[in-house]
């Protein structure tokens, strides 16, 4: 029978295999730009893997805008080509290459992951095709001419919250975040406004291994031991659900207020957290209950179409469609990727469900930020935290 086992090699091989992910994508015919025919817009969003839920939100937001405008952007019929971003920079890059080189789309929207947007930066810059991104926006992404984001820079939710927490905490604040780039960006953003406002940290900030951490008990014990009066945390996706539920399970909820960038309680994760999320305070550029004209056009229609309240991801994609709508219209008779990109730079104020915003010189929004509290399983706006991005 079988000879010697080589467990180490097997584990190494298995781990390597686990890290590889398949990618795929929808495929439609190719075509040159026609001045009168439909325009092709690529949607680069995850259709599979860990980020699928975000991808679905973004796709739905974009499609809703197009549907609300008679299937047109800028007066031109739209053909949406969806490509699967997948989970990794490699799968995202392959899908982006297909959209730009094979499908020859006029412009692209989407992109969930920061790794993807870093990986496709050169493709859009050298190909001179505009990417109106509606999520990923790492702090390192600067100096681009063809890459726009309708979301926010990764460190802004933390920045928006810093001063407020410093004023409200009434004691030292424990800082804990997922140990990857976005977590570090958020913590740096938070500290950049929290410390100058007189905030005190309860010890050094803690980064939990990402994505491996499923059991937060040891960290929650540390929080308890530290004597902190409040917690600032950054988690998203599955980790956000685990963290929030265990925060309640180990008896910290209701005792130590929990502050976070909005992802902690945004979209599907909030459903997963159930009543464990009640009382959590988050900062974000959007809340489905905002009272303004654009949101009245957006939120109820979104809920009616998809059966759940819109998230910031869906809203940013709706806005990305709006930006393209205005830019294609402004490009007039010569609709090319370059003319649309030039028009985006001139697009001016966007009347958005989040409130009015405009692109700054870095291609990200100058926009209002809100403090939200989860009440009975729903994010509700409690106050405005000011504008960022200028």
């Amino acid at each position: 029978m079988a000879g010697r086992f080589r467990p180490v090699g097997l584990v190494a091989a298995s781990t390597a295999l686990l890290l590889t992910t398949a990618c795929g994508g929808a495929s439609l015919g190719t075509g040159e730009d026609k001045q009168s025919g439909p325009v092709k817009i690529g949607l680069l969003v995850p259709q599979s893997g860990t980020y699928k839920a975000l991808g679905d939100d973004m796709k739905q937001g974009f499609e809703l805008y197009v549907a609300q405008h008679g299937g047109k952007l800028g007066g031109r019929e739209v053909e949406i080509v969806v490509a699967d971003e997948g989970e990794t920079a490699d799968s995202g890059k392959a899908a982006a290459e297909k959209l730009v080189k094979q499908d020859r789309v006029l412009a692209v929207s989407g992109v969930v992951s920061s790794a993807t947007i870093n990986g496709v930066k050169d493709l859009f810059e050298t190909g001179k095709v505009p990417l109106v991104g509606s999520n990923a926006s790492p702090t390192t992404l600067t100096g681009t001419k063809y890459i726009w984001r309708t979301s926010y820079v990764n460190d802004e939710p933390g920045k928006a919250l810093g001063k407020h927490v410093a004023e409200q905490a009434g004691g030292p604040v424990f800082v804990i975040a997922a140990g990857y780039q976005a977590g570090k960006d958020e913590v740096e953003g938070f500290k950049s406004t929290f410390l100058p406002a007189g905030g005190k940290m309860a010890g050094e900030e803690v980064y939990t291994p990402f994505p491996g951490t499923k059991n937060f008990q040891p960290y929650l014990a540390q929080i308890e031991k530290s004597g902190a009066k409040a917690v600032f945390s950054f988690y998203a996706g599955g980790a956000a659900v685990d963290f929030v539920k265990q925060y309640r399970d180990f008896g910290l909820a209701g005792k130590i207020p929990l502050y976070a960038p909005g992802f902690l309680t945004e979209g599907g994760v909030l459903k997963g957290q159930g009543e464990a999320a009640n009382g959590i305070l988050t900062a974000l550029n959007y809340s489905a209950d905002l009272d303004n004209a654009a949101n009245k056009q957006f939120a109820p229609a979104y809920t009616a179409a998809y059966g759940s309240a819109p998230t910031t991801y869906a809203m940013a994609s709706w806005d990305a469609a709006q930006v393209l709508d205005k830019a294609i219209k402004a490009a007039g008779s010569t609709v090319t990727s370059e003319s649309v990109n030039a028009a985006i730079a001139q697009v001016g104020d966007i009347d958005s469900p989040r409130g009015t915003w405009r692109f700054n010189s870095g291609g990200t929004p100058v926009q209002p930020w809100y403090l939200r509290e989860v009440k009975q399983g729903v994010n509700t706006v409690s106050s405005e935290l000011g504008r960022l991005g200028g």
Binding site: M1, A2, F5, P7, V8, L10, V11, A13, S14, T15, L17, L18, A22, S48, G49, T50, Y51, K52, A53, L54, G55, D56, G179, V206, T208, P209, P211, G212, T213, K214, N215, Q217, P218, Y219, A221, Q222, E224, K225, G237, G238, V241, D242, K245, D249, F250, G251, G267, G268, V269, K271, G272, Q273, G274
Partner: protein, 292 residues
């Protein structure tokens, strides 16, 4: 209580809970690989299937949990039988072919589960009667995790008695040691193989049902569970129940107490421990007496 233990008491208890969860999952992987020589990388998927069963059937009552346990055991048994059937033709072609096949199955099943349940994490709540916290020497600790420790310890004892103390277990170990001899005695070897695989798979799915409130169902959980199980199996030693228990309890403590004491080294603790154990005991803590 004095300072050190008081500060880390909850972590020690939680390490036991987490370790027993890992044992329930990993023991099946260890037995199927160590004894039956089938490398099943779909093992994490069996856990995930059990966790989704718990999500679908949990209605807040103890009966819901019981029903989920039965359904989970059934799903696991059937999954294990199907995997035996699929991996059988590859028995002579070595572990790499088995790894590729079972990993392919995990990708397919993971996408099917995502299509059925969506891309969000859907954690389950324990039955109402087992929610809330109890006071453990001045620290809050979830009731459910305490109950889990009791149930999982019972499961561990049962597995140990069946595999290492019963005549059925003796038959399995004899099959591993000398297939031809057992076959000559008139035993259908394939039944033993199917039986061990199905039992190991059922344990993983039952672990998924019980573990759902701790490691809830969602995309990616299967991979997390598989990696942890492989680490437990390597650390504990292949094909032995006691090894799986020793490995699981050690990894449980590393992941709780270790992380509480050395948070800055958290990302390296798991694999550092694995490295250390392999350097000192290359066959794991308690390697199988039959195979070693």
């Amino acid at each position: 209580m004095s300072g050190w233990l008081d500060g880390n008491f909850v972590s020690v208890i939680d390490g036991v809970a987490f370790g027993l969860l890992l044992f329930t999952i990993a023991v099946g992987l260890s037995l199927v690989f160590g004894m039956m020589d089938v490398l099943n990388l779909a093992h994490g998927t069996l856990y995930l299937a059990g966790a989704y069963v718990a999500y679908a059937l949990s209605d807040g009552t103890l009966w819901g949990l019981l029903l989920a346990l039965l359904a989970g055991a059934l799903v696991g048994t059937m999954g294990g039988a199907a995997l035996t059937f699929l991996t059988q033709p590859l028995a002579r072609r070595g572990h790499l072919d088995q790894a590729v096949l079972t990993l392919g199955i995990t990708f397919i099943v993971a996408d099917l589960l995502a299509a059925a349940f969506g891309g969000d994490v859907l954690p389950t709540d324990p039955p109402t009667a087992l929610r809330g916290t109890v006071d453990l020497l001045g620290h809050a600790y979830p009731v459910y995790r305490l109950v889990f420790i009791g149930v999982a310890a019972g499961l561990a004892l049962l597995v140990y008695l069946v595999f290492e103390r019963s005549s059925l277990g003796a038959l399995v170990r004899a099959t591993v040691a000398d297939r031809d001899m057992v076959r000559a005695l008139g035993v259908d070897i394939r039944k033993v193989l199917y039986g061990v695989f199905a039992a190991g798979a059922a344990l993983a799915s039952v672990g998924g049902v019980l573990g759902a409130p701790i490691l809830g169902p969602g995309p990616g959980v299967d991979e997390t569970v598989l990696v942890l199980s492989l680490v437990v199996v390597v650390v504990g030693g292949l094909g032995s129940v006691r090894g799986a228990l020793a490995g699981a309890l050690l990894i449980g403590q590393v992941q709780t107490l270790g992380v509480a004491l050395l948070p800055e080294y958290a990302p390296f603790l798991l694999f550092g421990t694995m490295l250390l154990v392999l350097v000192v005991r290359p066959h794991g803590l308690v390697p199988s007496a039959v195979r070693a």
